[in-house]
Assembly symmetry: C2
Homo-oligomer: 131 residues x 2
DNA sequence: TTAAACCCTAAAGCATACTATAGAGTCAAG
DNA sequence: CTTGACTCTATAGTATGCTTTAGGGTTTAA
């Protein structure tokens, strides 16, 4: 399977596939006589794995590590795999908390402003940022 | 006031101040005879403004725009200022929602895994990512 | 006078995940 | 035989907010 075909099959860009290869997420495929990449069918499932992992928030580096475990499942434990989701969940929870803190602070100054046509000379949003 | 003094006063790095100047958040200060920057006292309040604005999630570019309004408050309306917090609030809410979507998806596959000592051959996390 | 502490500019580096560009070879159809 | 679609490599650019590096003046205190 040539790269364009694979890209279409998984809904990704050709450049992205080459980029993933450069980052070690996709192993170097065989080459045709003309130098074109020739992917095995498994490349599709591997890319689908990457897509799903991205959807749940993993970075490419983390996905690379996950894939390394996945191809040698037998030599790894559930515990090991679960620690990935554990860490990521904590990260995401922290981000959400941080954003919620920001949101609350922002809402506070937002609602304190009339939002009217008058000049901003005494705007409470600006005041809040000044003091 | 020299840059080191200012940096200490506001708890920022000297490099950061110069960077802010390069980005137009801080106007170019007067220079001493030796070429050293000589800041007016107002620089402190301006930097505090920047700090607060960052704390509520504004980017440097947005802060630059906010500062432009702030220095000519009289020529701007509350409405105008409030639209900044409005837009930012919407952005933050979207990010939170996205993260919560991710969190839910991740929690689902996380809790489905036993996390035990056995091999990951049948790990439900990996399965979830594969299918 | 000399060493520490302070200041200057310009440019590169970092992290993330691509995206774009340049320049060039290959293949299939008409 | 040429045109369009496909592929290749290598390099640079994007966005964000700094941080670091390199190389070099200035000031102050001992």
């Amino acid at each position: 399977m040539k790269i364009g075909h694979l890209a279409t099959a998984v809904g990704m860009d050709i450049q992205t596939l080459r980029y993933y290869e450069s980052q070690g997420l996709l192993s170097e495929p065989a080459r045709l006589q003309n130098g074109y990449r020739d992917y095995p069918d498994e490349a599709i499932s591997r890319l689908k794995f990457i897509k799903k992992a991205k959807l749940v928030g993993f970075t490419l580096k983390e996905i690379k590590d996950l894939l390394a475990i996945q191809v040698t499942k037998d030599e790894h434990t559930c515990q090991e795999v679960k620690s990935f989701t554990q860490v990521k969940l904590a990260e995401i929870s922290n981000k959400i908390e941080e954003l919620q803190r920001i949101k609350v602070a922002l809402e506070k100054i937002h609602t304190s402003c009339c939002g009217g046509d008058e000049t901003a000379a005494h705007c409470s949003i600006l005041s809040a940022l000044e003091n």
